[in-house]
């Protein structure tokens, strides 16, 4: 905050509303910039990880080990023609890609990256994130409907049914965490986890964590639940008719969604930017490491997990997907709530 003291004399309105807004905008710009860089390199990382898992090299041509590939891809997509097909519902078709990007980016506002750094420490943080992840479904429905294409239509239908089904599982799996922490603020949830020796709800809430992870994979339309964009049958699902920058926005939103879901998993189940007290008490030197290192490391692990599972598991069939969501995950999450509530009451 001391850096921003420089602005005080410059503008001459110390502690004013305008200055506060300026500080907020600078913070948001930093967060959005870093996230976009991560989105770009998440695509590179994915191609590299899956390449090596399949005994290939992945991108190698653009720069050393293909390190500049995401930048080349970005420039290419930026200059590509933006095709709006005949018979498409033009306003809806054009607005649709902005909605998932809006929903994914706005979710970043409440995520605590390290001690004291969160753009908006609101007391309903978790509810806000769930609301934003629901909003993303509008982009899917609108693009699927407005494209005037069979593949888009089928992909949009499948995807919206899948996203809303797994949203219930995600919402219910987080109730266990809410009971234990007694709060919806992500900051409070991280701090509540420090009260335990293990320092992460992953251990008492392992059922909720499992349900959350599976549902998060389905929410972000990732393998093994990537039916909406199954390349071998629907050729990309709801965004098959999109090209150029509008396609890039959908693509970026998917990776942003992965980053957000990984961040939520880290904050709610892995203790956020903290390390378990049992470790920090044994080796006090660990406390010297800045919290952002742990946070980012845990998020990277989850993103790696997405790629690992994509390289390992075959795609689900649609009836299996729906059965898993409704008949397995939701009862599991409900049982977890009941058990958590009873255990909490006993202690």
């Amino acid at each position: 905050m001391n850096i921003f003291g420089l602005f005080d004399g410059l503008i001459g309105m110390q502690g004013s509303l305008a200055l506060n807004i300026l500080i907020i905008i600078v913070k948001i710009a930093v967060v959005v910039g870093i996230t976009m860089l991560h989105v770009a390199y998440a695509t590179y990382f994915e191609r590299k990880v899956i390449g090596h898992m399949q005994v290939r090299l992945g991108p190698m041509r653009v720069g050393p080990h293909g390190i500049l590939q995401p930048i080349a891809d970005g420039i290419k997509l930026f200059f590509k023609e933006d095709i709006v097909p005949d018979g498409a519902d033009k306003p809806v078709f054009k607005i649709a890609p902005i909605i998932p990007v809006f929903a994914a980016l706005s979710s970043l506002a409440v995520i605590p990256f390290f001690e004291g750094f969160v753009i908006a420490d609101i007391n309903i943080g978790l509810l806000y994130i769930l609301a934003m992840s629901s909003l993303g479904a509008y982009g899917i429905v609108m693009s699927g409907w407005s494209s005037n294409s069979k593949y888009s239509f089928l992909g949009g239908l499948r995807s919206s049914a899948q996203v809303i089904s797994y949203e219930i599982a995600i919402g219910l799996s987080l109730v266990g965490v809410m009971i234990m922490a007694g709060s919806l603020s992500l900051n409070d949830i991280v701090k509540a986890q420090q009260q335990h020796w293990h320092g992460m709800y992953l251990i008492p809430q392992f059922i909720a964590y499992f349900v959350f992870l599976v549902a998060a994979f389905a929410e972000t339309n990732r393998a093994p639940f990537d039916l909406p964009e199954a390349e071998s049958e629907l050729v990309a699902g709801y965004f098959v008719e999109y090209s150029g920058m509008r396609f890039a926005l959908f693509y970026a939103a998917e990776y942003m969604g992965m980053i957000i879901m990984s961040s939520i998993a880290v904050v709610c189940f892995w203790g956020g930017w903290t390390m378990p007290p049992v470790i920090t008490n044994a080796v006090p030197a660990i406390k010297m490491v800045p919290g952002i290192v742990w946070f980012v490391g845990k998020v990277y692990f989850h993103i790696f997990l997405y790629y690992w599972i994509r390289a390992t598991l075959p795609r689900y069939r649609y009836d299996q997907l729906m059965a898993l969501g409704w008949k397995v995950l939701i009862p599991l999450a409900l049982a977890n709530i009941v058990v958590t509530a009873i255990v909490k009451f006993m202690s």
Binding site: G15, N20, I21, I24, I25, K27, I28, V32, F78, F79, K80, E81, D82, I83, D86, P97, I98, V101, F102, L105, S106, L108, I119, A120, D121, I122, L126, W145, S147, S149, K150, Y151, S152, F153, S160, A161, E167, I168, G171, V175, I179, G182, S183, L184, V240, G244, M245, A248, Y318, D319, M322, A323, W326, K327, P331, L334, V338, A341, I342, F345
Partner: protein, 131 residues
């Protein structure tokens, strides 16, 4: 979280905690719309009829693209509304559960039992079955 902002507006309540969220939302929309607008200044635009036809594996499109689809999707949508409302009811309960204790526990058990009856009915009616 910003007490300074409160001082600037005495007598009127502004939920200042949410101000950064609002700004973030505006920036998010500006980011999406901005990249598209700036891109439109640079990119080519050479449409012709074949390019603008919907993609159907290289064949000319056959029939209506928005055809009738399975009733199952409607059922899933209705079930979603019911279960999501239940989930939303659970959030405030979970937050204040510590403070209320046994009463909250019994109340919520009743609530979940009622929910499970509806769930069992939907299962019996094969609402979750896709064939």
């Amino acid at each position: 979280m910003n007490p300074q902002i409160d001082k600037m507006t005495p007598g009127s309540y502004i939920p200042t905690d949410y101000l950064p969220v609002l700004i973030f939302m505006m920036i998010a929309v500006a980011f999406g719309a901005g990249t598209l607008l700036v891109g439109s200044l640079f990119r080519l635009r050479r449409p012709y009829k074949e390019k603008l036809t919907p993609y159907e594996s290289g064949n000319p499109p056959v029939g209506e693209p928005r055809y009738r689809f399975s009733i199952k999707f409607y059922i899933i949508a209705m079930l979603f509304v019911i279960f999501d409302v239940e989930a939303v009811f659970l959030y405030p309960w979970a937050v204040v559960y510590n403070k209320i204790g046994l009463y909250a526990l019994i109340e919520m058990m009743l609530f979940i039992v009622i929910l499970l009856v509806g769930y069992a009915y939907a299962w019996k009616k094969e609402a979750f079955k896709w064939d």
